[in-house]
């Protein structure tokens, strides 16, 4: 149960609104970092990549601020029921967003050596499409969270499968490039780590969608998350 009626203490409502506003701001920065890092990679724009490496600080600062605010709310308001679930969900979501910020930063870092090396055909445009899809997932997971919309959250969660499939396809393609020409190995390895970063960002978006479900229903989804098939015959055995 998640009522939309206001609290008797309107100051409590204002504090929760302010906390959600910070989280939404943070999510906006993270979505942009993810897409911009992939765009910078494709354009080999090292200036943009360097700017983005520095900008990750803003995301980290917001995470810290959100955690302080949430701790303050817990200490002063003793939230219960949906209020408690909201604050727990905000804290977990903030951690996930902070991690996605780090992953985007890592994409930007790898863009610097990649700009100096051989091009691997097709990879960066696939990565850009993946990053765009994950950014949309993040945006919609956040909307599901702020609107307590379990249906939208379930839809976002199901889309993680598409990201996994794209990652697996790209993995096989990069492997083929490496087998064809040894001088592709260094750039292909960087591109693989980048693709893996985006895939991980998709997992975080899925995690945020699960927090939205927890907030709306009081329970985390119990069924296993949809998973793509393992990497297939070309994958190294783990």
């Amino acid at each position: 149960m998640t009522p939309d009626t206001p609290h008797i203490s309107s100051a409590f409502d204002r504090e929760i609104d302010a906390l959600l506003a910070k989280l939404t701001l943070m999510s906006g920065l993270v979505e942009r970092a993810l897409v911009d890092s992939a765009v910078a990679l494709e354009a080999q724009d090292t200036d943009a990549a360097e700017r983005m490496i520095r900008a990750d600080k803003d995301i980290d600062a917001l995470d810290e601020q959100i955690n302080l605010d949430a701790a303050g709310l817990i200490a002063r308001r003793s939230p219960t029921a949906s209020d408690l679930r909201l604050i727990l969900a905000v804290m977990r979501t903030s951690s996930s967003l902070e991690r996605v910020g780090d992953l985007a930063k890592n994409v930007a870092k790898r863009t610097l050596p990649l700009a100096q090396s051989r091009q691997v055909e097709g990879a960066t445009s696939t990565i850009r499409r993946m990053a765009k899809m994950v950014a949309v997932m993040l945006e919609e997971a956040m909307r599901a969270l702020t609107r307590k919309d379990a249906v939208l959250a379930a839809d976002v969660r199901a889309r993680d499968l598409d990201i996994d499939t794209m990652y697996n396809t790209l993995f096989r393609s990069l492997l083929t490039h490496m087998l064809e020409n040894q001088s592709n190995i260094t750039p292909a390895m960087h591109l693989h780590f980048i693709a893996k970063n985006i895939e991980r960002a998709g997992d975080h978006a899925t995690g945020i969608a699960e927090q939205a479900i927890y907030l709306a229903t009081g329970e985390l989804p119990s069924d296993a998350r949809p998973k793509a098939e393992a990497l297939g015959s070309t994958a190294p055995k783990a």
């Binding site: 149960m1 998640t2 009522p3 009626t5 206001p6 609290h7 008797i8 203490s9 409590f12 003793s78 939230p79 219960t80 029921a81 949906s82 209020d83 408690l84 679930r85 009081g218 329970e219």
Partner: protein, 265 residues
């Protein structure tokens, strides 16, 4: 040790001590309690919460027939203590209240010595054969109420001379002196400071190892801290009863949610 901490415990294996079914209470024409059915488990602290006038204290008072003293009150339905109907004609309310003790909102020690306050119940119920046995009951009860060390050197001093928190623990000692099976507490900490409240809460947690404790409280945090089961009353109805953890993290009824989160609703 954190005095405020209550370990989450499994209550599934516990038997009901009190079984209430279809309890209705009327004060003249005012229908104060509507068809309440609930089990009060053995060795469990059950919290009754709800807004003023919701019927929680009325129901608490049914459990040891305190409503008998209210001329306009009429109680219907069945309340069983260990399978025995407490409203049966043959049940003596005074004997019943020795088995179901009560602690009130304001500490109300008798204007007697600390010793006599605790010895009062055992004396009228003839629970001690001699002075030595009575001394022992007084000491055990004061120890159980975590008050012994503070008063053992002044047992003949008046109970009314103690601090508020000590007076409330004296009343708890008085209630446990008759060896009750159930302890009813009607907002026992509302007149106490946080330290005394923490002491009483720690005490409640110890008492529930032997008794079934039922506490009416207006403090949501207190209910969350001390109880394993919570019952939410609203307009005379028992709206929701469940594990305290569940009630405070994921209540099922929107009225419960609105009340515990402090919403207009």
């Amino acid at each position: 040790m954190n005095l405020m901490q209550t370990p989450v415990s499994d209550t599934t294996a516990l038997k009901p001590r009190i079984t209430a079914s279809g309890v209705q209470v009327y004060y003249d024409t005012n229908h104060a309690l509507k068809d309440v059915s609930v089990n009060i488990l053995d060795r469990t602290t059950t919290a009754f919460i709800g807004p003023s006038g919701c019927g929680k204290s009325t129901f608490l008072r049914c459990l040891n027939r305190m409503n008998d003293t209210v001329a306009s009150a009429r109680v219907e339905g069945k309340i069983l203590l260990d399978g025995q109907d407490i409203y049966d004609k043959r049940v003596d309310p005074v004997q019943l209240r020795a088995r179901i003790g009560m602690v009130f909102q304001k500490p109300n020690p008798f204007p007697k010595s600390i010793y006599d306050n605790v010895a009062y119940g055992p004396r009228i119920h003839g629970l001690a054969r001699n002075k030595a046995e009575l001394d022992e009951i007084v000491e055990t009860s004061l120890r159980r109420a975590a008050l012994w060390n503070e008063v053992k050197d002044r047992l003949s001093a008046p109970g009314t001379g103690l601090s508020g928190g000590q007076q409330q623990r004296l009343c708890i000692a008085r209630a446990v002196a008759t060896g009750p099976e159930v302890l009813l507490m009607d907002e026992p900490c509302s007149a106490l400071d946080p330290i005394a409240t923490a002491q009483v809460e720690a005490l409640i947690d110890e008492l529930r190892e032997q008794y079934s404790v039922v506490i009416v409280t207006h403090s949501m945090q207190q209910a969350a801290r001390v109880s394993q089961k919570t019952a939410f009353f609203h307009l005379g109805n028992l709206v929701e009863y469940g594990d305290t953890q569940q009630i405070f993290t994921n209540p099922q009824d929107p009225r419960t949610e609105s009340y515990i989160t402090g919403r207009i609703g």
